[in-house]
């Protein structure tokens, strides 16, 4: 199994990662080197072996249901690259298709 440059572009699109033609050309063989390593796993007999997502059991710790202050809105907005302080929100380009 090997990735073509079109596959790499498609995965880039799934990952919301624009890639230049040069990048695709450079990355494709490197990704295929790694994929070749992955193939070795197919030799392992994993029938009936449980999948491990964490090395220790992760349980949900419940805390007392006490309201604690969140970060002030102004502080959070101050991190944004483009914000509307009057409306109190982050500015993004148009989200829905259609006339602006």
């Amino acid at each position: 199994m090997a990735l073509s440059s079109d596959d790499v572009r498609k995965v880039g699109s799934l990952a919301r990662l624009a890639l230049t033609d040069d990048e695709v050309e450079h990355l494709t063989p490197q990704l295929n080197d790694l994929l070749a390593q992955f193939e070795r796993l197919q030799a392992v007999d994993t029938k009936g072996v449980p999948a491990m997502s964490h090395a220790v059991p992760v349980v949900a710790f419940l805390r007392e249901d006490v309201i604690v202050p969140s970060l002030p809105k102004a502080v959070v907005l101050a991190m944004g690259p483009e914000v509307d302080e009057l409306l109190g929100g982050f500015v993004v380009p148009q989200v829905l298709a259609g006339d602006a």
Partner: protein, 487 residues
């Protein structure tokens, strides 16, 4: 008292607490050394001189007022720049986060400051902690203090180099697949990756959440024990934080190692391990036997699958964790974009470096429809088998000994465009993260070029005290840790 910058953290805290030296004098001495030496090494991305002097003055004021200044009073500490520091830039060495100033502190920062430690700056790393040489940093080059033409290792290369060069007595790194232990080995210092869940990760910028763990670098076992006692213990802000109190490591890490059972996992000495490294590990084994340990060989048959399993699990988690960087809420954003999707795609294209892109792509691929079972699910099953190898080995031995790295530090630029060769330098350290067990790298001498060897000790979950005890026994019986790079 010897020169201030040669003091250990334990010595500094004791001297400051007893009023023998002021915290301000300690901090000034280290700031002077950083100003002299760091232009050569490049360990720091930012040195917070003013804030450090203010914090030191506050420690001195507490002492003057008769208030306990804490167990790390006046101890300067460097922080890998992927841990959030309120009011201080936190970049992850990425263009994407250049200029990001967190509005809150990571739990480790709060605990250090509560104990009187002085944050003296943020250190360089591979971008988002992805790499093995710190060369993936978008913001600077860090050099190995033992040979400035060599890499310091990575991803916590800046924190390792800072401790090795005596720019600070202790520093923090994070370890997802070896990022504390590998640079500790390359830089000839001690680096501990604690048990998964031992140290809170609240405020650590997430890379691979089932593997990430914060841990310290230092030049003595006492300093590692002291800082771990301050850092450990349950944190309700991290759901993976173990529900335990901080262990007592200072006391528990003393004593002889007579009868200690040490295992040599033969698979860790396979092809790719250089002969000098193999010989260095065997010399450590001989020394431990001299000190009373009993050695046997053990088999960990799934070791050869560690690299592929790791490079599916870690990038899969990274592709999810890094989805948040879309140019909306923080960090840099691409200009002149047409839609929200276009904004995300271009911001990420411009902001991430090549290794981060490779890992996002491979992780996204491994999780995508049609490949999830063949790759991700399979890797999680193999992860179980790798952990079972550890469980079985620890039925027969108390600790395992392996090389930390297959070779000593390699040259800057030598592997930077060969991602697979780069990844092979972590081959001995990846398994501890997959299995969640603690691991430590300790100095074990020097090769013909004068570059440090590192040896790795691995123990069962929560065996930090034992790992430190073995480390102490070995380091007390040798003088490797006392040797300093000439800068």
């Amino acid at each position: 008292m010897s020169e201030i910058t040669n003091l250990t953290a334990t010595e500094i805290a004791s001297a400051v607490r007893e009023g023998i030296v002021s915290a301000v004098d300690i901090v000034d001495a280290f700031l002077d050394r950083i100003a002299d030496v760091d232009p050569l090494v490049g360990a720091f991305l930012i040195v917070t001189s003013d804030a450090a002097r203010q914090a030191a003055a506050a420690v001195d004021a507490k002492i003057a007022a008769g208030i306990d200044p804490g167990r790390l009073a006046g101890v300067p500490i460097a922080i890998k720049d992927n841990m959030c520091t309120r009011g201080i830039a936190t970049t992850c060495a990425s263009k994407l986060l250049d200029g990001f100033i967190p509005p809150y502190d990571a739990t480790v920062i709060t605990r250090l400051q509560d104990a009187g430690a002085i944050i003296i700056g943020k250190t360089n790393l591979d971008e988002f902690a992805m790499g093995s040489s710190s060369e993936n940093s978008a913001l600077g080059v860090t050099r190995n203090p033992w040979d400035l033409s060599k890499v310091p290792g990575g991803s916590s290369g800046g924190s390792a180099a800072a401790v090795a060069a005596r720019l600070v007595p202790i520093s923090l790194g994070s370890d997802t697949g070896g990022s504390i232990r590998q640079p500790a080995a390359f830089c000839g210092t001690i680096g501990l990756k604690p048990t998964y869940g031992m140290v809170s990760r609240f405020g650590l910028v997430a890379f691979a959440s089932s593997l990430d763990q914060i841990g310290p670098f230092a030049n003595t076992v006492d300093d590692i024990a002291l800082v771990m006692e301050v850092l450990s213990g349950h944190d309700p802000k991290d759901s993976t934080s173990l529900p335990i109190d901080a262990p007592e490591l200072m006391k528990a890490s003393h004593g002889d190692i007579k009868g200690l059972r040490i295992g040599i996992p033969d698979e860790y000495f396979a092809d790719g391990i250089s002969e000098p490294v193999r010989a260095a590990v065997m010399e450590v084994v001989d020394k431990l036997v001299e000190l009373g340990a009993v050695v046997s060989h053990v088999s960990m048959p799934h070791t050869e699958y560690t690299l592929p399993a790791y490079y599916i699990v870690a990038p899969a988690e990274a592709s999810s964790n890094l989805a948040r960087y879309d140019g909306v809420r923080y960090g840099n954003r691409a200009s002149k974009t047409l839609s929200h999707e276009d904004l995300a795609e271009k911001t990420r294209e411009q902001g991430f470096g090549a290794e981060v892109k490779r890992r996002i792509l491979i992780g996204t691929y491994a999780l995508s429809a049609g490949y999830y079972d063949a790759f991700y699910h399979k890797a999680m099953q193999v992860r179980t088998l790798i952990q079972q190898d550890f469980v079985k080995a620890f039925e027969h031995v108390d600790v395992l000994i392996t090389p930390t790295t297959p070779t000593t530090a390699f040259g800057i630029g030598e592997k930077s465009d060969d991602p697979l060769a780069m990844k092979l330098s972590d081959i001995c350290t990846l398994s501890a993260n997959l299995a969640g067990v603690p691991g430590i790298s300790i100095p074990a001498g020097f090769d013909d070029e004068g570059l440090p060897f590192g040896v790795q000790l691995l123990g069962p979950a929560l065996s930090e005290a034992l790992l430190l005890k073995v480390s102490r026994a070995y380091l007390d019986a040798t003088n490797w840790i006392d040797q300093e790079p000439v800068l």
